[in-house]
């Protein structure tokens, strides 16, 4: 089971994060029992030295900055075809 955590801190959420929740409707059925999508309060990647571009999404333990639905799906494909 892989958890997709979409940062819903104010910055990530209004700068594209809100649109990433649409991923549910775009994932292939093969992921149905492999994936859980959840929202999170600010993950904290918008501050500090290693500041990342919003929106930030975690796929498992891996961070996807400047995330798009396409980037997440490509990442999942790599994870599950290994």
């Amino acid at each position: 089971m892989t958890e997709i955590t979409i940062c819903s801190g104010t910055l990530c959420y209004i700068m594209g994060g809100a649109d990433i929740f649409e991923i549910e409707t775009k994932l292939s059925e093969m992921y149905n029992d492999k994936i859980r999508i959840k929202a999170s309060t600010c993950l904290g990647f918008c501050e500090g030295e290693n500041k990342q571009n919003p929106p930030c999404v975690m796929v498992g333990n891996e961070l996807i900055p400047d995330a798009t639905i396409e980037k997440i799906i490509n990442h999942l494909k790599r994870l599950y075809t290994r």
């Binding site: 979409i6 104010t10 959420y13 700068m15 594209g16 929740f21 309060t41």
Partner: protein
């Protein structure tokens, strides 16, 4: 709402940067915003960062309520406009302006032959064109724009899909032909035809159509300790990934003295709408339409006046909420939190609401002030509104509320128009010439209803689910 695009994200970025400067008393820094968004040696969207920066400057002017015609001296710095707006409490009636610098003057060639054309022997494009508009030059088809009537037959006939349709997105999206090119080839909005549906603002991929923002005047009022009341549209409940109660909490942290759910006013709309429908149909009127979508009301007022007698005279939930709020908080500044710009126009006409702040502006404001929506399990503000009133946010919501309010449905035969396009406008125009097989017509200018408004943040289907879940979670009473 439309697909996410960079023009939308840039607008949100500008808004939050402007509000942040205002909150920190750094308005003098406004001129830096174009440089921050398009830094030296960074990437440009247009020909170069300098053009991008110029466009950003004019977009900021548009947000502040100034358009190109207000610019008498090109060297006037941005912060002067910002200060003038705040100091003189400058409000203009104009809601939308086209930023000439940003408008790409999209070619309205309509049908174009691309280089996928193989100059085949069959030449079905040429043979099927009734206007003799297609010729062949160096082995490829070309369309004579003078003769072409944009029927699209050549496109259908071409086996190579070599002929494409090139739209002008804003003109295509406008259901009432209110946006057209001026003599300079730039788009221009004809306010006398505009119904403030906001579809052009969503459609333009250059973000050239800018909506005036009043959020700065609200921020200023709160800074000056004016008593300010927020009236929040039911659609707000689905806009952030948290409970409605937490969203309301965030608004209070922005400095509002009270937050009132407009769903409370929707209770009155439902009662009046139901009573009016019963009265009118009993007196032989074949059907009645809803009136809470201001864009639809504008459509009827400006383009389908024959339909006017059929539109309900009942006021919108915003109106009744504002009336209630005026009694409860006399003298307070009334701010409506809105999913769309049509409400801004309605508020300007109505006089009860002082300012309209869009959901997008709320998000930018929260960002500027560093407010995060919590994840505690707060119930909605006062919980005075029933389930049906909260569903006004969704297409079909008004119908549902009226239907549930009427005893045993009372013979209500509803029909819904979910989203106004050119096609829907045509069928509405035809409506007055025949007796339809429904007697209650709900019209929502935006697909999905208010959660699909042009200034929303969340996707409509996500927002819908969230609103429905919210009601289950807090066990909100079913009916009034």
């Amino acid at each position: 709402m439309s697909f996410i695009n960079n023009a939308t994200l840039i607008r949100r970025d500008i808004l939050s940067k402007l509000i942040k400067l205002q909150l920190n008393g750094n308005i003098g820094e406004t001129d830096r915003i174009p440089l921050l968004i398009r830094p030296k040696n960074g990437n440009a969207s247009r020909c170069c960062i300098h053009k991008d920066r110029a466009v950003l400057k004019y977009k900021i002017m548009g947000l502040l309520g100034f358009d190109t015609s207000d610019e008498t001296d090109e060297l006037t710095p941005l912060h002067k406009y910002f200060m003038e707006m705040l100091e003189n409490h400058r409000t203009v009636n104009k809601i939308l302006s086209v930023v000439d610098e940003a408008c790409s003057s999209c070619d309205s060639g309509n049908f174009v032959v691309t280089n996928m054309c193989r100059g085949c022997v069959g030449r079905p494009c040429m043979l099927n064109c009734n206007k003799n508009a297609i010729d062949f030059y160096k082995g490829q088809a070309i369309i004579d724009k003078e003769k072409c009537v944009s029927c699209g037959l050549c496109q259908k006939a071409c086996p190579y899909h070599a002929i494409i349709y090139t739209p002008v997105p804003c003109e295509e999206a406008c259901p009432v032909k209110a946006i057209n090119k001026n003599n300079n080839g730039k788009e221009h909005i004809d306010e006398s035809n505009c119904i403030y549906c906001g579809k052009c603002t969503e459609a333009c991929p250059f973000g050239a159509i800018v909506e005036r923002s009043d959020v700065f005047l609200v921020v200023q009022g709160i800074q000056k300790q004016k008593k300010t009341v927020a009236l929040v549209a039911p659609a707000l409940a689905g806009q952030f990934k948290t409970n409605f109660g937490n969203i309301i909490d965030a608004i209070k942290i922005l400095g509002f003295d009270a937050v009132i759910e407009v769903a409370e006013g929707a209770e009155i709309t439902t009662q009046n709408e139901a009573a009016e429908w019963q009265h009118k149909t009993a007196n032989g009127q074949p059907f009645m339409t809803t009136s809470c979508c201001p864009s639809f009301v504008n459509l009827v007022d400006k383009h389908i006046t024959d339909l006017k007698p059929f539109v309900s005279g009942t006021k919108s939930p915003m109106f009744y909420s504002a009336q209630l709020a005026k009694q409860e908080f006399p003298g307070a500044v009334m701010v409506f939190f809105s999913p769309c710009l049509a409400k801004k126009h309605e508020a300007q006409q109505g006089g009860l609401i002082d300012y309209v702040v869009s959901f997008e502006e709320l998000g930018a404001w929260m960002l500027a002030k560093g407010i995060e929506t919590g994840n505690s399990n707060l119930p909605p503000a006062r919980n005075l509104a029933g389930c049906d009133s909260r569903l006004y946010a969704l297409a079909g919501g008004v119908t549902n509320a009226v239907k549930n309010y009427l005893p045993n449905n009372s013979g209500l035969k509803p029909f819904n128009i979910n989203g106004l396009g050119k096609e829907e406008v045509r069928s509405l125009k035809a409506l007055t010439h025949k007796t339809p097989d429904f007697n209650f017509l709900e019209v929502m200018s935006c697909e999905n209803g208010c959660i699909g408004g042009c200034n929303t943040i969340a996707r409509p289907n996500i927002a819908r689910r969230q609103i429905e879940n919210e009601m289950q979670k807090h066990d909100i009473k079913k009916a009034v």
